[in-house]
Amino acid sequence: MRVCHCFARSSAETTGWHCLPSGKQWHTAHANSQDMQVGHLRQRYLWGEAASPPAPSVSSGWAVDQILAEEDVDGGTPELVKWTLTDHLNTVRDIARYDSETDTTTVVNHLVYDAYGNVTSETNSAVDSLFLFTARPFDPDTGLQNNLHRWYDPSVGRWLSEDPIGGINLYKYVGNSPLMRIDPFGVKDHPVTVTLPDGTKCTANCAEPDPPKGGGPAIPCRESDLKPSCDKKCQSAVANAQNDPGVKRLLDQIKAIPGCAMPRIECRDCGTGNCKAGGWHMGNSIYICDGQGHGAVSLLQHELTHHLQACRNQADISCADRMKMEVEANLAEGKTFAQAFADAVWSSCITQRCKVSDITDALAQQMWNAFPPPKPPRKT
């Protein structure tokens, strides 16, 4: 948990709040008071554990600071605590208050937004929060939302400045898919930190594809596009890889499953166009396009594990199932558990099977239970 104190930054000018979350200064231009005094504590905010963006943010699964509570304070005396209840995009949907006299917590304001973050209705506009759509601070005077790297204008669903990492439409908000995606930092990466059961902090990137996969491949890479490769290095790398003990073990496992086809493993030329990649797993075939780049052995170990999983009829519709399949394949490559987990998060998120809120300590625990790391040998 992290507490942020907001002080009045100036008095007569009422230029706004001066907020200090973990040493980072925000200037929200939230000028709503004529009686501010410099250094006068006005409000306190409680977030899920976080570091300064864009570094890994939280251990509770959110890649942005998850606003948990807001406390109105006058001279350091707590008056009211408002608990903010958020949805999958971290958007504040309800504000609740605890009444100590009746020992009850009730929702005092319910907010309804349109797809681009405009508040279309609320049950009690007198009870408000600085943090609303995707939990970024909203400035009611300008009608803009501060996403740290950029200002977002929900009225038109666009950024005020270009995307710092580029793209086709530099002003477009989350690929015009605001119900599916969030872009809390104005960029597409979502670093997440989870704590593994052994206490290790594991940072992963639950990034989203750009453009979103829902658009489909414009020009598909077809099997027939991958012409046979004459690259001798690739051919010898693939031939040697099939003699690797780890690869052989996987091939034996595949052979042992009745009805499981032995995949074709070939070198192909896939250096151009839509097919450009280190290799492909297509249908029942594994095509290696680069005998040197990734390492044919680890690549084959990874993909043969996936082939085996398909033969075992493992489904990967849910995030947890997909993570399990990816962690297993990464471990087969010889990666450490932390690396296997982090890489699984990357590929599961980029293919839209997992979302940021899925990447939690509980998920890490689940994977750990499924694939417990080997215990070090006892010293005699």
């Binding site: 052979k255 990734h294 082939h307």
Partner: protein, 218 residues
């Protein structure tokens, strides 16, 4: 008498064990029945695939039986023999693709005839293998329908009709259908292997006895 009973029990147990090892281990509940048979001759082998809903609830299938099942040619070591991709099939509009998803009610069945050497439609999915691991490169997904044929010089040992999603099916289907998940689909697993007994240039074949399988209970 007691010894005889023990012997019978032992033989039965051994038999079950041996049979169990030969059969694929399926996990889905018994919902459907897949049947495949081969007719025609070596020049024009025709594979007939039939899927019947044997359960008591409707199942969602592709009424063209192209998304699932997949057809795989195998040699005698179960290695995959590739089909030849002859012509790209232009991707229909998503609305048209959606209409292909049909509900098969209890007792209803659906059939497809595949002329293996003449050209038939296949749905292929794939996912690229990034050259750099550790999240440095994003995998790409491909999914497409294509006309395929069994090359003239190929004589497989067996033709497998596999009604279960291959690896990358979920990603490929979602990309092809522009965000629609494959979760609603009946997914099997079902598998039928049809021995290919045609000589290369025979004619007037009498077809084969249909091979069938049911998905096994848990």
């Amino acid at each position: 008498m007691r010894n005889v009973r023990l012997a019978v029990a032992l033989v039965f147990a051994l038999g079950v064990t041996v049979c169990g090892a030969d059969e694929p281990s399926f996990r889905s509940s018994p919902k459907a029945f897949l049947e495949a048979s081969l007719s025609g001759d070596g020049e024009n082998p025709v594979l007939t695939i039939r899927l019947r809903n044997t359960g008591d609830v409707p199942i969602v299938v592709d009424k063209e039986l192209v998304f699932l099942p997949d057809i795989v040619l195998m040699d005698n070591e179960r290695r995959v023999i590739p089909f030849k991709e002859t012509r790209a099939v232009e991707k229909p509009a998503v609305s048209a693709l959606k209409r292909r998803l049909a509900t098969l009610g209890p007792g209803e069945e659906i059939e497809r005839q595949v002329r293996l050497r003449k050209g038939f439609k296949r749905f292929v999915t794939g996912i690229s293998l990034p050259t750099r691991s550790g999240g440095a490169e994003a995998p790409k997904v491909t999914a497409y329908e294509v006309l395929c044929q069994m090359p003239a010089d190929v004589r497989p040992f067996e033709i497998e009709v596999s009604y279960k999603p291959p690896y990358s099916f979920e990603d490929g289907f979602m990309a092809y259908m522009q965000g629609i998940s494959a979760a609603q689909f009946y997914r099997g697993p079902l598998r039928v292997g049809v021995p290919y007994r045609f000589a290369k240039h025979t004619s007037g074949g009498h077809g084969e006895r249909p091979a069938t399988t049911k998905d096994a209970p848990n």
